[in-house]
């Protein structure tokens, strides 16, 4: 099919209309299987009751009028921000070390950085259960050192979840950061140092602004992924910590209240988009200053 379309364009001047046709198959697929489902989702959110008999804004007012659901939105946003902060704290030093090392060490570091990508998100989540469980590595080490008498409860806590998400989402932060770190002009760093700036000052005044676009790309991916990481959230966070994905799952497949699940689902969509837009705005703001 590709051949036919391109061959048809041959000979004549490259007409835009013919070229556009090449985008049509993917465009139509998206229209049917991506845009239409979201339209249906939006439509169903305007049913007032679970049986979908009456139209109305009841599902929306019920969701946004309840302090419990507002706290779920807040907790989801907070989890995303914590994940971004934790991955940033570890990814920047790693990227700096990567930049400073020789080619041999760089190859080893690349292998280490890509290692989590060899395992799926579900397996990474599973690994953290093995690590954080009552008889897990962390508790055995702490008890072996005599730091704690009884095993700590690390699973089903927000701290445990943030630690696990840090590793699970880290590659998303590291890859764009490493790329931009390698493109950075070393002369600018050298100049800052030669003019007497300390390493800290050089980092905050030269390295950070130059690598900000990479950080924003990474932070966007980490935020979007951590806020929607249903399996990590439900398995490590447990039933006590409720985030938007678990709420969507529960309302749609356990309670069978589709209009309400649709509202929660659209809320997740808006939350992620708001986070991404805020990060993009931060990038433009930093550029103009």
């Amino acid at each position: 099919m590709a051949g036919a379309a391109i061959a048809a364009a041959g000979g004549s001047a490259p007409g835009d209309r013919v070229e556009w046709r090449l985008a049509a198959p993917l465009g139509l697929t998206y229209l049917v299987f991506f845009a239409a489902p979201f339209a249906i989702l939006l439509g169903i959110s305007f049913y007032a009751d679970a049986e979908q008999t009456r139209l109305g804004l009841d599902s929306w007012t019920k969701f946004y009028g309840d302090a419990f659901y507002l706290k779920v939105i807040f907790d989801t946003l907070k989890l995303g921000l914590f994940a971004v902060a934790a991955t940033t704290l570890l990814a920047y030093p790693l990227a700096l070390v990567f930049r400073a090392s020789g080619p041999k060490l760089q190859r080893l570091l690349i292998f280490i950085i890509l290692m989590p990508l060899l395992t799926s998100v579900v397996i990474r989540t599973f690994a953290w259960i093995v690590i954080l469980a009552r008889e897990g590595v962390v508790n055995q080490t702490l008890m072996g050192l005599g730091l704690t008498a009884a095993p700590l409860n690390l699973l089903q806590t927000e701290l445990g979840l943030v630690i696990a998400l840090t590793q699970i989402e880290m590659p998303l932060m590291l890859l764009p950061l490493l790329t931009i770190m390698n493109q950075m002009d070393q002369n600018l760093v050298d100049a800052s140092r030669a003019l007497g700036a300390s390493k800290w000052r050089t980092f905050f005044k030269v390295v950070l602004p130059l690598t900000l676009p990479g950080w924003i790309a990474g932070a966007t991916l980490v935020f979007a992924s951590a806020t929607t990481a249903f399996i990590s959230q439900s398995v490590i966070g447990g039933a006590r910590l409720v985030y938007l994905p678990a709420l969507i799952w529960q309302q749609s497949t356990v309670v069978y209240n589709w209009p309400f699940a649709a509202v929660a689902s659209l809320t997740l969509l808006f939350t992620v988009l708001a986070g991404i837009m805020a990060l993009g705005w931060l990038g433009r703001f930093a550029k103009t200053n």
């Binding site: 590709a2 041959g10 570890l90 799926s120 690590i131 008889e135 630690i163 969509l269 992620v272 988009l273």
Partner: protein, 272 residues
């Protein structure tokens, strides 16, 4: 001068320490899972008391692990078909986008990439509602359609990146020498963008194999998918077979990565 040296020393220490912690946190879970998969124990205790292939035997047992095998083959089939179809559609779309330089092309580009950042969990629920409103019963074909949308952007993005690096003079030269546009595509464009397409297909395949948010809503007991099955195993009893599945998947991904590297390396040499 003295003070700045002191601050530089603390800088080196803090950066080194955090980087070390980063490496530990990246590597430890993978090693722990692999080690656990060889345990003799009934539980996930780490370090394992003794090593054996007990859980791999259990995993490959055709009777006791039948649901896992079905789910694994379903996952591979869905990933394969979604990647192939997604790749063809994405390459065509990428060709269109690079050749048209109107602002609307940028808009189209952004919408083709949007599944990468929009929460796919929202999409999963939307797809479930869409298919049930249409009255279509759950099947592997629905999963293929759902996965296709979420993974096509991977191929689209890498193909677009290779196309923008392509020197237009090459195609002009071929056209000036009387080659048809299809000939130019087949002999010049395609070999040069092949590594990009291959890399995108690799990412797309892996991400379909790992996909949770779409499979969560579109799969059922009959059309089980591997990640969902594993989630079920984690929620109920902490089955050590999960560690064995992890071991197999890590090995498979590693092999796929090596093959990928060989293939794209090969294409690079062929096109040189």
């Amino acid at each position: 001068m003295q003070r700045s040296t002191l601050s530089d020393v603390t800088y080196n220490w803090i950066v080194g320490l955090l980087a070390g912690l980063g490496i530990l946190i990246l590597v430890a879970p993978v090693i722990i899972v692999i080690a656990t998969s060889f345990t003799t124990s009934q539980t996930l205790r780490f370090p394992p008391p003794d090593l054996s292939l007990r859980w791999y035997r259990e995993l490959f047992d055709p009777v006791r692990s039948a649901p896992i095998h079905t789910a694994a083959w379903n996952s591979v089939w869905v990933a394969f078909v979604a990647t192939v179809v997604g790749a063809v559609l994405s390459v065509l779309a990428a060709l269109a986008i690079t050749r048209v330089s109107r602002p609307s092309a940028r808009l189209l580009e952004a919408s083709f990439l949007s599944p990468l950042i929009l929460p796919s969990l929202s999409y999963g629920l939307a797809a479930l509602m869409f298919f049930s409103v249409l009255g279509i019963r759950p099947s592997l074909n629905l999963l293929i359609a759902g996965h296709l949308v979420v993974i096509a952007p991977f191929v689209f993005r890498t193909t677009l990146a290779s196309l923008t690096q392509l020197d237009p003079a090459l195609l002009e030269a071929s056209a000036n020498l009387g080659a048809s546009r299809f000939y130019g595509f087949r002999r010049i464009t395609l070999p040069l963008i092949a590594p990009g397409i291959a890399a995108g297909c690799f990412l797309a395949f892996i991400s379909s194999m790992d996909n949770v948010p779409v499979s969560l809503f579109l799969s059922n007991a009959r059309t089980g998918m591997l990640p969902i099955r594993m989630w079920g195993m984690m929620e109920s009893t902490l089955d050590v077979r999960i560690a064995a599945i992890a071991g197999v998947l890590i090995l498979a991904t590693l092999l796929l990565m090596i093959v990928m590297d060989r293939l794209t390396g090969l294409t690079k040499r062929m096109s040189a």
